[in-house]
């Protein structure tokens, strides 16, 4: 991913991108898996910094939405039987599809990130509801079954790493334990 694309992505997220360039940026995101991944990461980090709840299901949801749309028979796919589609139009149809997917990836995914409000119908029906559902927890952090105590020990460990001398010298190794370790997978 080039710096220019990264800047565009960042500007798009911040709402600072010139509106004439928004469509092109959406197309770029639709085509570039690195950009889509970065889009998800930026949202995730933004949510974390704002102290919001982050659903596990956000992972890969842009691609999941895109795949779902590509395999969707109606109404997004060109209708068959109406007449043979001109091969000259194929690239445009593809681009439209990509733009549609990009639009959803850009504008629908943030909504999925937030998770549905209690009582709200799932946006886009069962299929999207399934995509945005949190993944089941597969691990027992700290070998404990009590989430509150797990959370407290995580807090103690992060706070400790920040307070302990020489943590910075060890690079991110102390923090790799926190996010790299996953028991009982």
């Amino acid at each position: 991913m080039t710096d220019e694309r990264q800047r565009q992505l960042s500007a798009l997220m911040d709402g600072d991108l010139d509106e004439r360039r928004v469509a092109a940026a959406c197309d770029l995101i639709a085509r570039d898996p690195d950009l889509r991944s970065a889009w998800e990461r930026y949202h995730l980090i933004g949510q974390a910094l704002r102290g919001e709840r982050v659903e596990q299901g956000v992972r890969g949801v842009a691609d999941a939405v895109r795949s779902a749309l590509v395999s969707e028979p109606v109404p997004l796919r060109p209708r068959h039987g109406v007449g043979r589609r001109s091969s000259r139009l194929a690239p445009f149809a593809g681009a439209a599809l990509a733009a549609g997917a990009a639009f959803l990836a850009v504008f629908a995914v943030p909504a999925l990130f937030q998770g549905p409000e209690p009582g709200d119908p799932a946006p886009g029906g069962d299929r999207l509801a399934a995509l945005s559902a949190p993944l089941p927890l597969q691990e027992r952090r700290w070998s404990l079954n009590t989430p509150d105590l797990q959370s407290k020990l995580d807090l103690f460990l992060v706070n400790h790493q920040e307070a302990a001398p020489a943590t910075g010298v060890k690079g991110m190794l102390p923090y790799a334990t926190l996010i790299g370790y996953e028991a009982a997978r």
Partner: protein
């Protein structure tokens, strides 16, 4: 009777050999200090980004790291690329950790203070507890590295083996090792791109008077708690009071041997604290109740160390009785 000439020569040769060994040790120590200082400088002055693998207990996780020095502040983002979403960010003066259950936790970053004073590894100061050795050259992430090992002399602490990029000084591979030199967990770049920090951003990390003053402050807040019986080599380094997410006060004490460290947290007992020993990766935690209080020790140290830490906690007025 005078010793034969050959014996005199032998003694002289032995003395010269001892002097040579001692001089080599000194040279090795200086070189180790230079290498570690260069690593420290690289961590503070370079922008870099890359993919890492984290290995523990034969489990492998892929992570992505972005490290930026912006306006004299280090900003870091570490994100898991495999399994459930997990991330750590150090930005805007806070460290935030996104846990697998989706609930982020966030603490005030103390990196500004740490970077000024305590963030250096001084080989001479570690000599009692660690053996430091330079040796070997290996290729990591397609780059040549020099290896430096800080090996613990006992089982109460872990050490480190760093593979330092010959070009930049960055640690491209960091192993946490035990007293036999065996790796416990490993973090290694598989690809990395580096950039020099433009302008004087790196220089801006020099301590401001306020920060330096903060860094020099000594532990010594009044406390009812005593820690006379501690794991060997660990000294008190900090004491403050924090608040848990429910607003309850938690006393926090940090103990260090100048490389390894553990924290002791003491709070009112609510009946749901840790009893006994547990761990996550190489980090251990041990807890017990003392009267109406819950005592928990946490750190990237062996199990025996946190167990000894909680076992040695006493109430000061308990001793007076």
């Amino acid at each position: 009777m005078k010793p034969p000439v050959d014996v005199k020569h032998a003694v002289l040769v032995c003395l010269l050999a001892l002097a040579a060994v001692s001089s080599a040790d000194l040279g090795g120590s200086e070189r180790a200090a230079t290498m570690l200082e260069r690593m420290n400088s690289a961590l503070r002055s370079l922008d870099y980004e890359g993919t890492l693998v984290y290995l523990f207990d034969n489990r492998l996780e892929t992570l992505h790291l972005v490290h930026r020095v912006d306006g004299g502040r280090i900003q870091e983002r570490l994100l898991s690329l495999s399994g459930p979403v997990r991330a750590v960010t150090r930005e805007h003066g806070r460290v935030t950790c996104v846990r697998p259950d989706g609930h982020p936790i966030s603490v005030q970053s103390r990196a500004g203070r740490n970077l000024q004073r305590a963030e250096r590894i001084d080989p001479a100061a570690l000599a009692d507890r660690y053996r430091i050795a330079i040796g070997g050259a290996e290729r990591v992430a397609g780059r040549e590295t020099d290896v430096i090992t800080i090996e613990p002399r006992d089982t109460l602490r872990y050490g480190y083996r760093f593979h330092l990029d010959r070009e930049t000084g960055l640690p491209l591979k960091s192993d946490l090792i035990d007293d036999r030199g065996e790796p416990i967990e490993q973090l290694m770049f598989t690809s990395i791109t580096t950039h020099s920090v433009s302008g004087d951003s790196g220089a801006a990390l020099a301590p401001t008077p306020d920060r330096a003053e903060e860094a020099e402050s000594k532990p010594g807040h009044p406390s009812r708690w005593r820690f006379d019986e501690r794991p060997a080599g660990f000294e008190p380094a900090m004491h403050d009071v924090m608040r848990d997410p429910n607003g309850a006060e938690v006393e926090h004490f940090v103990f260090t041997d100048r490389l390894s460290a553990y924290s002791v947290y003491i709070e009112a007992d609510t009946g749901d604290g840790l009893e006994g020993l547990t761990r996550i990766g190489a980090a251990h935690a041990a807890g017990r109740r003392i009267g109406d209080h819950q005592v928990t020790a946490v750190g990237e140290v062996p199990a025996a160390t946190v167990e000894a830490a909680v076992a040695g906690v006493r109430l000061a007025d308990e001793d007076a009785r």
